[in-house]
């Protein structure tokens, strides 16, 4: 794994970026603090959490799996693409949780700091949209009736 992570093909992490993926509960306060910067005029943060139902079927829990080293590579690429499209972005924070989450628990946090809010909204939306399409992360819905199914995001 060490050899993979030091591969010259991997995207380097921008100094303003903070990424995290793992089983610990996520903290909005921590993500927000990591997006803080004296040059910011606005921070836009998005949290995703387990909804109480999907298509009318009551959900009990979601079970998240991730290929963590590749997910982090996707996060770094998102950071690189954001810096190309919105060079004003000071900070990009992406935290994603893994394991079993029950209703109301936060599965993902994205926070973006910027001098102006327009770019912060656009970059935050770009980050979560791209994460949902490309990050190697999977969730299984566990319904109240005991059935489960792997979700296809799009």
């Amino acid at each position: 794994m060490t050899s993979l992570l030091s591969s010259p093909d991997l995207t380097p992490q921008h100094p303003g970026d903070r990424f995290l993926i793992g089983p610990e509960p996520l903290s909005l306060a921590q993500a927000y603090n990591q997006a803080d910067d004296a040059a910011n005029g606005a921070v836009v943060a998005m949290s995703g959490m387990v909804r109480n139902q999907t298509g009318g079927k009551p959900v009990e829990a979601l079970d998240y799996q991730a290929y963590e080293p590749m997910a982090l590579q996707v996060f770094r690429q998102i950071g690189e693409q954001i810096r190309q499209q919105w060079p004003e972005v000071t900070r990009l924070v992406i935290h994603h949780r893994t394991g079993r989450l029950t209703v109301g628990e936060i599965s993902v946090l994205v926070a973006v700091g910027c001098p102006h809010r327009g770019e912060a909204f656009a970059a935050c939306q770009y980050a979560i949209d791209t994460l949902k399409h490309n990050a190697p992360i999977w969730k299984k819905e566990c319904f109240s009736d005991g059935s489960t199914s792997w979700v296809n995001c799009c």
Binding site: S7, Q65, Y67, A135, P136, K139, W150
Partner: protein, 82 residues
């Protein structure tokens, strides 16, 4: 022959009941050939074939990518992070 590691997630992990395989393969094997070999062993996976993307050494690659000794391969059925 080459040796590669295959990371399994979601439906692939369920079908093989494990998260990782080590495979011996002929030189010049493409990543799509590896996937077809696994689907042949677990036919219930064939529904995922057309929707699966491939990663090698933490990067997305085309199905025609030729594998090298020591590669870490991942089969990526439709993702649903967030």
């Amino acid at each position: 022959m080459i040796t590669v590691t295959v990371k399994l997630f979601a439906a692939y992990q369920d079908a093989f009941e494990r998260s990782e395989l080590t495979m011996e393969l002929p030189e010049q094997t493409r990543v799509v050939d590896l996937c077809d070999r696994l689907i042949a062993q677990r036919p219930q996976l064939s529904a995922w074939r057309s929707q699966t993307r491939y990663g090698v050494n933490l990067q997305f690659v085309e199905p025609e990518q030729v594998l090298n000794h020591g590669d870490e391969v991942v089969l990526i059925p439709p993702v649903s992070g967030g």
